[in-house]
Amino acid sequence: MLEPINISLESLNLGTLAPMVIAIIGALSILLTDLFNKDKHKSLYVILVALFLIFDLFTLLAYHGDERGVFDLMLLDGIAILSQCIIICGSLLFIFLGLSKLRFQDFRYAEYFALYLFAVAGFQFMVSSDSLILIFVGLETASLALYTMIAMHNKMVSIEAAIKYFTMGALAAAFFVFGSMIFYGITGSLELAQIAQVLTQEGFLSHENYANYILVLVGFVFMFAAIGFKLSLFPYHVWVPDVYQGSTSAMAGFLSVVPKMAGFVVALRFFEIFVQANDPIIQTMLYVTVVLTITIPNLIALQQKDIKRMLAYSSISNAGMAMAAIAIGTQQATTALFLYWILFTITNFGAFGMLWLNRGKEFEDYSSPYAFKKFSGLAKISPFTASILAMFLFALTGLPPFALFWGKMYLVASAVNAGHIALAIIIVINSAIAAYYYLRPVSYMFLRDPEEGTKAKFMQNASLPMKSLVGFAVFLLLISILLIDPLLNIISFYVSNSGY
């Protein structure tokens, strides 16, 4: 007869679960609202989502207590709190893009908004755990929600995108499980902290334990591929442009920012073990991947004729830059990662938001509303719209003093300070390459006259709340120089709290 196990409720520390639970309750309540009321306007759901996200954020910030909870599955340390804040704030920004003027298929389903909250909850689980199982569950919850949301746009191109994303994602999930299995086999644990401990104690990363070294490498490669898919690292990035093209700009912007934040935290927790161990093979692998992820998509982006696809490639390259911070592995680099991603969130929100505002309905399936040509002469038709879009593109280029410059500068500084001068040079040279393709839409907008004969319409999709939100992003962009100091203080507080 087994002894009954006694566990007190307090030792579970359920408070760590509270933020995610609120998101899930929000999702369920949206489903229930839809069950009893047919055909409610999307604004109701948008505001409900926003409300629950704010509630979520406040619960998270109000949390005080032990960082471990629920049988040590949950780990609410500094970077978990920080990244959850970024995830929630990013989601909060992007959900307001649902308040568009035109009616689109996806926003007519209440399920879209429920899935949105489920996805956010999934990401929150992903970042606040160091158990590979919970990370996997969070990842899958979020990913399945995303696949469905993309397909909900109800065009062939969106369904194609969703299926591509799904197949790739399924493969990545399989890799993740396989990698976890190997690590469990070697170390007997699924918790990253314990895996790290066993790896170092038994010397699995040194020459003494050569037999297991190969196994560790195989496990690492599988995990690396899985995380690489989520972060769109080279060569696992091929799905990105098609998926972005198939989804609405609102969704594509969300995809480029929020899931990657979660991915970065997992990558940070996982790669940390190996970066600290200074293993030459793994170091080289990381370094080469980072360099290629920054460079290759940049070169492909030079050939694009469509702003959205161009932004897709640019966001791959930007993910590569943030990944460089993880490869560097110092505390300043980790701070740089978060700073970079916060500023990237603002900038990319602005860029995709501007595209979304200019979305029309006169486009057929598989044709793009955002070709460069459409934007030619925009500065003459609507100087304000053109200036704002140009400002976001300049910010992505990394021109001072717009937001992303500071992220890039801090990242390059952390590379320089850690002695990675070559990496710093590669990053800045890529900024210069990127400048070319960011300048192309700008030159279409400002330097050319409007296309003869075409009556391009702009700002068709703009509604006042969306415009004011993009205006808010412009404001943040312009005063970003004043934001860096407080942001750095907050970030370094949380990062040093969790010891990265």
């Binding site: 500065a379 100087p383 300049f394 021109l399 001072p400 003093p401 500071w406 500068m409 801090y410 390059v412 500084a413 320089v416 300070n417 001068i421 710093a424 040079i425 800045v428 040279i429 900024s431 210069a432 400048a435 070319y436 300048l439 030159s443 400002f446 330097l447 050319r448 120089i481 004043l482 860096i484 100091d485 750095l488 203080n489 370094s492």
Partner: protein
Amino acid sequence: MENILSMLIFFPAAAATVGFLIDKDSMRQYGVVVTVVEFVLSLLLWYYFDTNVAGMQFVQSMPLISEYGINYLVGVDGVSLFLIIMITFMTMIALIGLTEKKDVKNLIITMLYLEMTMVGVFVSLDVILFYIFWELTLIPMFYIIGFWGAEKRFYAAIKFFLYTFTGSLVMLVGMLYFGYVYHETTGIWSFSLFDWNSVILPFDVQLWLFIAFFFGFAVKVPMFPFHTWLPLAHGQAPTIGSIILAAVLLKMETYGFIRFSLPLFPDASVYFVGFMATLGLIAIIYMAMLAYAQEDMKQMIAYSSISHMGVITLGVFALNVEGISGAVYLMIGHGIVSGALFMSVGVLYDRRKTKMIKEFGGLAHNMPMFAFVYAVVLFASVGLPLTIGFIGEFLSLLGFFKYSPFLTFLASLTIVLSVIYMLSMYKRTFFGKLVKQENKDMKDIFGRELFALGSLVVLIIALGIYPKVILDPLNTTVTHLTKVMEIKAVNEDTKEKLRAVNSIGEVK
């Protein structure tokens, strides 16, 4: 008067922002008023400037990112003071002489933003702040070349942007590395030039940092072999764009050498004198030859600009008071002269819609006033005594004579060569018979063209006859600079060389 520098920087920007509200037809007047006020402000700065102080004046400081040691830190000394006055003056003259008809409102707003960034570059004493303004000049210039330019303007604008952007990014890495070295030696983060001046770097670090800064500056000067963007940009840019590009933007980088490279890396500067002099000489001789071969008048002046920038480079790397003062004086002089030259080409282009030299001929008959003005400007450009061009070139070459008489001899070919291409261009344009009917119909300059060009001519002659107003305060600052270099040098060798080149005595 403590805030005068911030006013100088942000007044044009504020005016430009408000300027969006002004009606299209009244915009030119607004632009002129704003730039005149800005010019008066810069004169006030001169009035309150204490010429006996060698260090920075009107210093203002405010922390921006204290975690990482980045401050809003501005100040002027004798070197930057006159460059700032030159900027505000040239912007004013360029706007007064503006004849562009297309979208004048956007052009003037862009010009005012550009003025902010240009002034910002010359007063920033925090390196990151300097970098911000430095990069920000790209956006308005990109727009001016790309929108108001000639046929190949897209290509020219993008080439201009990419070349200069790439160079400055390498410089940024250098700046960040310096910040790191500073942190390693002192334990605090700072990007203030005052702090940076107080650390002494080992020779190899100096060498690498000098190279990093060199990339940023050399692309913009532009030095051979990074010069290919400039003739293209000039050829395609509208008149006002060329004036600003030649008068101000090219001066930013030689200023950068004086402000950053010399005092921060004295040993590396001495080490690289030969290299820089070679680049300068190539610029002087090769570009002068290219200038002679040009059919397009504007391209010719563009190449002659590069050629004169070579003399400035030589002057800076003479590393003595004469050379550096002469280089700064030549920077001011060349700013005024090349501005006037481009404006004159603009006058011709407005009337004939062409810049090809062969299209003209005999213009002196029906445009006597213009021919006279052009002649004075041209003489200043070739460095005739009693014009502003002579003083700068003479002092720069005199300074470099101490380093190497032979190289100076080669460099003085600049005067001969520029006489050849300038005079032959002048002959083909103004002398001979007036054959073509289109040329016969051309009217002489009048009104605001005359005023703009006339005031430049007055200045060219006045400063050519009495350069002391500028040279005196300049010498105080530059003497201080050379002393700082000597004190900061780590190698005994360098100190000796510096002492050797500095033994002529001051120029009175």
